[in-house]
C-alpha cells in the first residue's frame, strides 16, 4: 500500500548538506515536512519515542559516515524497533560513498529501499516518489 509522501527525515552530520537538501526538497514540493537530525542517535531516539505514529516521517535519507553512531549502527538499532513503527517508514541511503561494497552492504537490510549518491536532486526525488509513494 503506497502512501503519500508528506514528511522526510534527513540524518546527516553535515549541516551544509542538510541545508542544501532542504532547499532541494522545498523546491521540489514545499508542502513536504522536513525533519533534520545531525545525529543518528537523536534521530533513532525520536523514532523510538514518538507517541503519535502519525508524526513519524514517511522517508528517511540516511548518511553513512557520521561521528558517533554511523549509518550502519543506526540500521542495526532500527531493525530492532517494532514492526508497526518500521512499516510507517522508508529508509534510503544518501551518501557520498560510491563504494560498491557499501551498496551491497546496504542491501542486506531489506527495509533499505534505495542507495543514492549525494547531492540530492529534483530528479532523484521525482524517481523516489514515483517508485515508492502514491502521488
Amino acid at each position: 500500500m503506497k502512501k503519500e509522501l508528506r514528511s522526510i527525515m534527513l540524518v546527516d552530520d553535515n549541516p551544509a548538506d542538510n541545508f542544501y537538501h532542504q532547499r532541494i526538497i522545498k523546491k521540489y514540493n514545499s508542502e513536504i515536512k522536513i525533519l533534520t537530525f545531525e545525529s543518528a542517535k537523536a534521530a533513532l531516539e525520536f523514532i523510538k519515542t514518538i507517541e503519535d505514529l502519525d508524526f513519524l516521517p514517511n522517508l528517511i535519507f540516511l548518511d553513512i559516515n557520521m561521528p558517533g553512531m554511523n549509518g550502519w549502527e543506526f540500521l542495526e538499532e532500527y531493525e530492532l524497533l517494532d514492526k508497526v513503527r518500521q512499516s510507517k517508514l522508508l529508509v534510503i541511503m544518501l551518501t557520498t560513498s560510491e563504494n560498491p561494497s557499501d551498496i551491497i552492504k546496504a542491501r542486506t537490510w531489506n527495509f533499505v529501499a534505495d542507495f543514492k549518491s549525494k547531492p540530492l536532486s529534483q530528479i532523484m526525488l521525482e524517481e523516489i516518489e514515483k517508485n515508492h509513494f502514491n502521488n
Binding site: 553535515n14 551544509a16 542544501y20 532547499r23 557520498t96 560510491e98 560498491p100 549525494k118 547531492p119
Partner: protein, 761 residues
Amino acid sequence: MSKNDNSKISSPEFTGTLDELLQDYRDLQLRVTRFSSTEQKLINTRNKLDNEINRHKRMHAFNKQALDSMSDDVFCKMVAEAVVDIMEAEVALVFLSHLDNPNFLCFGGEGIVLAETEYPKIKSALSHLCDSNTKSNQLQLDSKEFENIKTWLPLNYAYGIHIVDTKNEISLLLTGGVLEGKEMFYEKPEVESDMLFSIFSQQVLARAINRKKNQTIHNQVEKIETSSNRLSKITDNFLSFGSAPKSNIELLTKLSGDLLKADIAVYSKADECLIQTYKNKGQGGVSTEIKSCHFYFDIFSKLNTKEIQHFNSDEIRVLKNKSKCDFQGMKTYTGCAVMLDNQPIGWLALVYKRKYIPEENEKQIIKIISAGIAVEEMRNISIDKLRDNEQRLDSVVQTQHEMICRFLPDTTLKFANKPYCEAFGLSEKELMGKKVSDFVSADYHAEMKTALANLSKKNPNNTHIYSITDKNGNMIWQEWVESAIFNNKDEVIEIQAIGRDITESKRAEQDRLIAEENIRSKVEELTITNQKLEKLAKDNQELEQYAYLASHDLKEPLRTVENYIYLFEDDYAEKLDEQAHVYLETVKAAIKRMNKLIKTLLEFSQLGANRKLTLVNCNEMLKEILADLESSIKTSEATIEIAELPELNLYEQEARQLFQNLISNSIKFKRKDEALKIKISAEKITEGWKFAVSDNGIGIAQEHFKRVFEIFQRLHTVQEYEGTGIGLAHCKKIVKLHMGEIWINSTLGKGTIFNFTIQKI
C-alpha cells in the same frame, strides 16, 4: 781175603791160649757179621735214596713237560706213563674229569684193553673204593670191592688215589698196579712211596687246575683279542669315514655284517621302501644290493626301540609266506631301530642262515653302529639343510644388486658375488687373494684400518663410505656395511660386507648442496626483494587508500561549493552584473574540472581492486569501444584500422579502459593539418602478446617518453589540450597489472606508437 786184611788191621799181635785165641776169633767173626749187616743196611739205604732221587728227577721231568701247553688227552696219557715210570707200576689208569669232559680216561703201560662204554662203570667203581670215613683219598685197593673191578681190570694188585676239587669242579682218579701173575717191585708201597704218590697226584691235580685256569684265561684272551679286533675294525672304519654321510652309513652297515659275521646286513630308512643289503661272502667281502622289499619292512616294523630285538626263523617263515622276497633260507634275525631324537628313523638288522644269539658285547656293537648311523643320518639331514641353505643363500647373495664380499681381517678377499665382480671388472677367481684395500683410495686406508680394528663382539657392524677406483679407473663412491664373523674365542676371523654404489647419489648430493646453496642465496635475494615488494605493495596500498580517502574527502567540500554556487546563482542571479557572471562561470568550470580530476583519481586508485580475469576477444571489445567513442571519432574525422586481434585472458574492465585511453589520447593529440589515422595491431611474442596503437598525430619528444606515464605530468597547457595528466599513468598501471610493459616510439610532428605487452596469464 778181605777178612784177613781186616784182622790184620784190627789185631796185628796174638797173645793168650788157643781157646783164648779161638774165643777172640769168634768174637771177631761176630763183630764182622754184625758189621756186614750194618754195611748191608747202609747200602740198602743208599740204594733207596738213589732211587728216590731218581724218581724225583723223573717227576721233575714230568712236571716240566706237563707245564707246557698240551691237550687234555696228551696230558692224561703223560700222567699215566709217569705213574708207570715213577711208581714202577706195570699199568696205570688216569681219570681226569671236569665240566668240558666228564669221563676222560687214559692208560699208561700196556696190556689193558677197555671199551669206551665201560669207562663210567670203572670210574664209578674205583671212586667207591675211596674210604669215605677217613680223610685220606687213598684207594682201598685191597678191599673186597676191588675183586669186582677185576672183571674189567685184570690187576693182581693196585693202589690209587681219588682227589676231588669241588671249587674248580675237577676230579682226578689215579691208579697204578700190576697185572695178574706178575710181581710188583714193592709188595705194598712203603710210607715214602705213599707220600710220593700222594704228592705226585696233588701235583697232577694242581697242574690240571692250572691248565683249566689257563684255558679260561686263554679263552678270555681270545675273546679280548676278538673284541679288540672288532674295536680296531670299528675304529678303522670310523677313521676312514668320508664327508658323505650316505657312504659312511653304507660303510657302517657293511661293518656290522662283517664284525658279527652275519650273512646279510640290512639298513633301511623308515620312510623309504628301499633296502640296502650287504651280503657277506666270507673272506671275499660283501656285495651290495638295493631293492624294494616289503618283506623286510614287516620285520622292521617290529623294531621301534634302540634295544636289540631278536626273531627266530618261525616268525620270519610266517612273514615269508606273505612276501614276494626271497629270503634265502635265513634262520635268525637280530637288530634294532636307528633312533634320532627318540624317534625310529630306520633299522639296522643282521640276518643269519644259522642259529645265532648275539652276545652282550655283540649287542653293544650293533647299538654302537646303529648310533653311528643315527649320527650320520642326522649329519645327512644337516648337510641337506646346509646345502639347501647354502644354495638359497648363494642364490640370494648372487642375485642381489648389492655387492657382497667376505674378506679376512687383513682385507684379503675370500668371496665376492656377481655384482662385486662386475663392479671391479674381475672374475671371482681373479679377485680371490686380492686385498679390498687395494681398491680403496689411499685417503681412506687409515679410516678403513681403524674401522676394521674396532670391530668386536660388542660392536660387530660398521658402515662406511669409501671412494674407490673402479675398473675403468673412475672414482666412484661406495657405501659398505661391514659385519664381523667371530670364532669361538670371539676373535674376528672374517668380515662380511655389503656395499652399494652411491656415486650418483653422492654426486646428486653434491649437486644438491650447490643447488641448495644457490637456492638459498636466491631465496635470500628473493626474500629481500619480496620484503621490498611487500613494503612497496603496502606503501602502494596505503597510497591508494590515501588517494581514495583524499579524493573522497575532497569531493565533499567541492560538492558543497558546487551546491552553494548553484544556490547562489539561483538566489542572486538577478542582482549580479555581467562581470560577476563571468566570474561565476569560471568558478563553475574550475569545479567541473576539479570534479573530473577527483573522479579520475578515484578510479585510478580503485584500479584492479576487484579485478577478475576473463577470456576476452579483443576484436569484439574494440568494436564496443569504438561504438562508445563514436561521437568523438566522428568529430575528429579519424579513420581507425584494426588488425586481427587475439582472444586472451584479461582484466576486462581495465583492458577496455587501456584501449579507450590510448585511442582517446590519439584523438586528443591529432594534427590539425592532417586527417587522423589510427592503427591497432597485435603480434604473438614468447611471453604473450605485443599490441601497438599508432597514430599520425603530433608526436612526443624523446625526452618525454618516460614522463608521460607519470601521474599528473602534462606536456601541454590545459588551454592547448584538455586533460588531467592521469590517462597515460592509468594505462601504465593497467599494463603492469597484466605483467607487461608499455613504451613509446615517436617522432615529433609525425606520429606516435604506443606499444604494450600483455603476458599470457
